[in-house]
């Protein structure tokens, strides 16, 4: 640390300040180190391929990928509207759409129950009219993950659409392209980096979703017990399994971070 007490621009930082920074860094590094040190490497594979773990893994993949698909199908059009169409209340609607990013997930779960629960706003009608029951099902887990994760896709794609040169769309139209053609063959390909980044972020967030899922969908193995829920449960009964599953989630997060490094770390 001594050698770095002068930053390149020559401002001499007080030693205490540097010390606090070191503390902050340690705060992030120690838990990761703990996880690695405590990992039972010998039995890791066995723990990971246990039926319980595999079930949670499979369900997590299914739910997070479905949530990402839903986010792409409805989130991209939403992002497009936010980026392109000025209408009264846009700012408010936009704020409400990205609210789940800062909302405590458990509140999201309660809100979802209030909307899609047995006696919820839409849930009661869904149950009466179609016999559809969402809470405490895999569909419920997917819905909870979509709710929490979609904002990441929406704001990423919206930023991409705002940064795009609209004259490419003009060019396509003068070449005879109708709206869908413009969208499919010009607009979306041009914002592909944002689409990919948004989808990956959304998927990573969905994969790690805990609070809204357990509140809205419960914790049923094979149905709604995704990896984070399985980790939490295993912590009580089988801490080694919890650590190995955590390690998998950590690896995924790291992979996402590295995959998107140009976006986040490119400047440095």
């Amino acid at each position: 640390m001594a050698s770095s007490q002068r930053n390149p621009r020559g401002f001499p930082a007080p030693p205490l300040f540097i010390g606090l920074a070191g503390l902050g860094a340690a705060f992030f590094l120690l838990p990761l180190a703990g996880l690695l040190v405590r990992t039972p490497w010998g039995s890791a594979w066995q723990l990971l391929t246990s039926p319980e773990a595999l079930t949670a893994l499979r369900l997590s993949l299914l739910a997070s990928l479905s949530a990402t698909a839903i986010a792409l199908i409805v989130g991209v059009p939403l992002a497009w509207i936010f980026a392109r169409i000025a209408f009264p209340g846009r700012a408010v609607l936009r704020a409400l759409t990205v609210l789940p990013m800062v909302l405590p997930p458990v509140v999201g779960g309660v809100a979802l129950l209030a909307a899609f629960g047995r006696r919820g706003l839409v849930g009661a009608w869904l149950e009466q009219a179609f016999g559809i029951h969402i809470p405490f099902t895999t569909a419920g887990a997917i819905l909870a993950e979509s709710f929490v994760a979609m904002p990441f896709l929406v704001i990423t794609v919206e930023a991409g659409l705002r940064g795009m040169d609209l004259r490419f769309e003009d060019a396509a139209r003068t070449l005879g392209a109708r709206r869908w053609t413009v969208l499919w063959r010009v607009t979306l390909p041009l914002v592909r980096p944002s689409l990919v980044a948004g989808a990956v972020l959304c998927w990573a967030r969905a994969l790690g979703e805990f609070g809204a899922t357990i509140t809205f969908a419960g914790n049923f193995p094979g149905r709604t017990q995704t990896m984070p829920l399985a980790v939490y449960l295993a912590l009580e009964t089988n801490p080694d399994a919890a650590i190995v599953l955590s390690l998998v989630l950590l690896a995924v997060s790291l992979a996402v971070l590295i995959g998107l490094r140009d976006r986040w770390l490119g400047a440095s």
């Binding site: 040169d165 004259r167 490419f168 003009d170 060019a171 396509a172 139209r173 003068t174 070449l175 005879g176 392209a177 109708r178 053609t181 063959r185 010009v186 390909p189 041009l190 592909r192």
Partner: protein, 350 residues
């Protein structure tokens, strides 16, 4: 084929209010400074911008007519447009870019690609089909953009500053190439530019635009000789000659010859600014390489200067002060000696 347009539209900052008529096979250049509304005219004609009032018809088909609510969408207009920086789709190959218009209009993939490759060949880029637009030079991108716009056989070709994105060093060569390509297209052609030489070199007719209005329209020679305002005079009020250069002598197409400073060979444009033309009552005896006798056919006072039109071989316009006209005792019909220094003549390959 012809285009008739009465355009009234509000663009950010000012009103566009003008009339344009372009005949079949005519190449018209819309010339004006930045912010004069040139690009907006193209956007209106392409259907990318709405009209407040007016009417646009192409080959008798109404494209815009606000009173009756007619506004044909851009994708349904038989037009081709070349944008200022070409706007080739970066995610598509050169061939796919050219085929885009055909695919959008429902041509089957195989047929579209075949026709697109024929067009690439036509613009001399047959080896570039699989390249990405990002790897092309400015001149190549321009040719791809032109092929992309023309592949659907539009009735109207719109070009927005086709030379602006090119290096000055390659511009002359590329302008000649572009003119050659444009000559083989028989639809209505409208080119927007802020470069007078480019406009005069390429177009059959000029439309000069300022603040959204037409200041003057006519053949390059007409406009150059009779600019109807100070602004137009400054912009295009130059003497423009076409001729064949041999070493430092240019034999002019309209008769006469000019001696220039730099040796050239082949077809050229020679530009002489009126203020560099000197007039004498008797044959001058001095350094200017070009001295000939003419007759003053017209004198126009424009602000603090007089534009004197002189008939001779060649005919030329001189710009002198009113005091000089008085000293010379110059009047309509008077014979006068004309001189131009070789170094004052700018030569452009045509």
């Amino acid at each position: 084929m012809s285009l008739e347009a009465r355009i009234q539209a509000s663009v950010s900052g000012f009103e566009l209010d003008l009339q344009i008529a372009v005949g079949a096979g005519e190449l018209v250049a819309v010339l004006g400074p930045n912010g004069s509304g040139k690009t907006s005219v193209l956007r209106v004609l392409a259907g990318l911008m709405p009209l407040d009032a007016g009417r646009v018809t192409l080959d008798g088909v109404v494209l815009d007519d606000p009173p009756t609510g007619v506004r044909v969408a851009p994708e349904h207009r038989p037009i081709g447009m070349v944008f200022q920086d070409y706007l080739l789709f970066p995610h598509l190959s050169v061939l796919e870019n050219v085929a885009f218009g055909l695919r959008s209009r429902g041509t089957r993939r195989a047929a579209a690609l075949t026709l697109a490759s024929q067009w690439l060949e036509r613009v001399g880029l047959e080896g570039y089909a699989d390249r990405r637009p990002g790897s092309l030079s400015g001149g190549q991108a321009q040719r791809v953009a032109l092929a992309r716009a023309l592949v659907t056989s539009p009735a109207l070709l719109l070009m927005d500053e086709p030379m602006a994105a090119l290096d000055a060093s390659t511009r002359v060569e590329l302008r000649r190439e572009l003119r050659r390509q444009l000559q083989s297209f028989d639809g209505v052609r409208l080119v927007v530019t802020h470069d007078p030489v480019e406009a005069m070199a390429m177009a059959d007719r000029l439309i000069i635009l300022e603040q959204g209005r037409v200041l003057q329209s006519g053949s390059p020679a007409e406009v150059a000789q009779r600019p109807r305002s100070r602004y137009v005079a400054d912009l295009v009020g130059v003497n423009l000659y076409r001729g064949r250069a041999r070493e430092t002598v240019i034999a002019l197409t309209g008769g006469g010859s000019l001696t220039v400073a730099e040796a050239a060979d082949g077809e050229v444009f020679a530009v002489v600014h009126p203020r560099t033309v000197a007039l004498y009552r008797t044959r001058p005896d001095g350094t200017p390489r070009n001295v000939w006798e003419g007759r003053a056919s017209d004198l126009d006072l424009e602000g603090d200067r007089v534009r004197v039109r002189l008939e001779g071989s060649p005919s030329i316009v001189a710009e002198v002060t009113p005091a000089a006209v008085r000293d010379l005792g110059l009047d309509r019909g008077d014979p006068v000696w004309i001189s131009v220094k070789a170094t004052e003549i700018n030569v452009y390959p045509s």
